[in-house]
Amino acid sequence: MTGTPTSELSALLDRAGAVGNQAAPGIVLRDAGEARAFVHGQIAACVLPRRLDVRLDGEHIVACHVAGGRLMQVAPAGGPLFQIGDMADASPALDGIVALADLLDSCAPGTQLSVTFAHWVADDMPAHAGVPFGQLARLWGLDSPGPRLSLRSIAEALGDAVLVSAVLEGDQLAILKGTQADMGRLADLAETVLPGIEAALGWADDPGPGLVLLGNNGWEGADLVILKGTDALVLALVLPAALPDLAQAWFAALRV
């Protein structure tokens, strides 16, 4: 690792009121030119897993996102550090992100960072006490749609592990791989499980991406996979051994 030690980031989060969880594994993901922290926001009784992405363009932070939604933009050195929605000031808990941003700004290009799990507790966010999370999410832009996924690229990345696949847009099912007979069976399968999945996961109200795998739920022992994009779904039957590759392709597509 070429950048800042995990302990320093933990100290920053701690200083800002975030409570580090030292029992959890510290390093989750590393990427050149991109720092990624996984944090838990806890507001009232809600535990909210959040992913904080900080992108670097070699000299400056170009953007920070939380869980896919834009949280703040960071100007080049000398400009305003960041702004959050219409808020003039950051809440106390967000000072941790400012401190993190400061730290990242001083890192060398391509710095790789790792951050321990942490969570923010409600008491650290007095400015928002009593504010419903939905409102807070809108304020912070956390509910804005994430990046558009190339669902086809994910399906294609799996190659031969995909037995049958199709794109469902509206009520139109278009073949990506397979025969017409396969499509008929896939359509039947989708009709059986999709309403239940959509109800269980609240997809109708969530424009963000999603991926669901139901084990051994197709035929020939295959897993049924449903990839959700902004305005389409990809349905696929994949070999069970493809799960790690599938998840990897999905997360890679999210980063585009």
Partner: protein
């Protein structure tokens, strides 16, 4: 069923934030362990989700119920494993994004088998 078993399982599974064992036939949370302090309502919701996902279908040839389900979201991955085809218990984990999924399901199934074996030996001892 002791808490330390679940604590040990969770801390041994990289990126695991919470593990819960539930009876999906009744919606009862049987045991759980988490890295953070989770409100009981949230744990109940995770277990309810496990039941709903595993009820979503079965193998079209054999009728065997869905053995596992995985929900991948930008902020984390839910992995739900049925303890056995004829059992109402299910194990649920939430893992950090990027967690290695290739061994998770097998590890969870082994843990379920260990729990069942432990329960059987407890019964035999009484």
């Amino acid at each position: 069923m002791t808490r330390h078993l679940f604590d040990a399982f969770r801390t041994g599974l990289p990126g695991c934030e919470i593990v819960a064992l539930t009876d999906i036939s009744t919606g009862t949370v049987l045991a759980w362990s988490a890295a953070l302090k989770w409100p009981q309502d949230d744990v109940d919701a995770i277990c309810a989700l496990a039941g709903r996902m595993l009820d979503l279908g079965s193998d079209t040839r054999t009728g065997v119920p869905t053995p596992h389900a995985v929900i991948v979201q930008p902020t984390g991955t839910y992995v739900i494993v049925r303890a056995a085809p004829d059992r109402p218990e299910a194990l649920c984990c939430i893992l950090a994004p990027g967690a290695a999924l290739d061994t998770v399901i097998a590890t969870m199934m082994r843990f379920c088998a260990d729990l069942a074996a432990g329960a059987a030996s407890d019964k035999g001892a009484t």
